[in-house]
Subunit: 198 residues, 2 copies
């Protein structure tokens, strides 16, 4: 057996996650058979399951991977920016996550949360990272005087997460999204410090 470097292992893991993401998005969790995962990743089942114990572990790893990448965008630019990117970027390359792929994963997570209580328990801790990133970003915005101060940060966080969830669902259903920009402007204005009207 040849020795493999950590870099090689990491690259291989990334290759599997990226292929699996498209595969799950396209076929759904149940439909993403081992054969299809082999095709999508360009690797054998032996190679895939050397890195991930089973399909469930692979799916959880990539869903968590998505949450971490989103949390980074949230920390730097806020959750509304995540939503704008969902609307604007038709396909991602390299480090950028394709919204279509991301949506597919997210929808599969939603569906399994609904139907699988065990999955729900495993997912709860992972999804918390996005909430934390959103809340911390809002707290920094409040300190900078950019956030309205008459509504609790937890409420504003839950509000933004609810709108994101709605947007994910909207896009996933293939509904038209070309008129969403002014809606996101309204969402952004809602959490910002109120300017006097008139």
């Amino acid at each position: 057996m040849p020795r493999v470097s950590q870099d090689h292992l990491d690259a291989r893991r990334r290759q599997i996650l990226d292929g699996a993401r498209s595969c799950f998005a396209r076929y759904g969790y149940e439909g993403a058979t081992v054969r299809r995962l082999e095709e999508a990743t360009g690797l054998s089942r032996g190679a895939i399951f050397h890195h991930f114990r089973d399909k469930e572990s692979l799916f959880l790893a990539l869903a968590e991977d998505d949450v971490l990448r989103m949390a980074e965008v949230v920390a730097a630019q806020g959750l509304v920016q995540v939503m704008r990117e969902l609307l604007s970027s038709p396909a991602g390359t390299g480090d950028t996550l394709s919204p279509a792929d991301w949506l597919g994963t997210r929808l599969e997570v939603s569906r399994r949360l609904r139907t699988d209580p065990e999955f729900r328990a495993r997912w709860a801790e992972r999804s918390e990272q996005l909430t934390v990133a959103t809340r911390e970003r809002l707290l920094r915005q409040r300190e900078a005087g950019k956030l309205r101060d008459d509504v609790d940060v937890h409420v504003l966080t839950a509000f933004l997460e609810l709108v994101l969830e709605g947007l994910v669902s909207h896009l996933a259903m293939g509904l038209p999204a070309d008129d969403m920009d002014p809606v996101l402007d309204l969402v952004e204005e809602t959490v910002r410090r109120h300017r006097r009207s008139g």
Copy 2:
């Protein structure tokens, strides 16, 4: 063959829709087999498919039924009230739609919109009724001076629908909703006429 009255036909149709709604909510569209539909409705497949051409027609009829009932609540009380009822009523009886059942149908609609372009086309015209009811309600509110007048009614309608979609998704995923009331207060405040702050 005995003659049956229109009342009897209507009651039978309602019985089928109510049973089918629970069945689709519990097992999903594919999992709602004819045998399970028989159990859930207490009727034979012959009786069920006397009223509905096939499972697809039955599903569309009940999804449309839900939209019409929601549109009635929207017309009388607004879309935020629909959301509050989704949060507050654990189970419906008689004319009241159980949020759990309604959510199940709605999620199945969402899933099929994502995966089935033909269904998407058939659904588009039906879902329009809820949008129309929401927009008309907002226009009446604006005439009554209760709505903010610096944002287009189409934008406010899309905003409320986006939040509803998020709430549906949130509840369907079994996420905690006991802290949602202040979020809906914020949503309601966002579409209302601005009061001067301070």
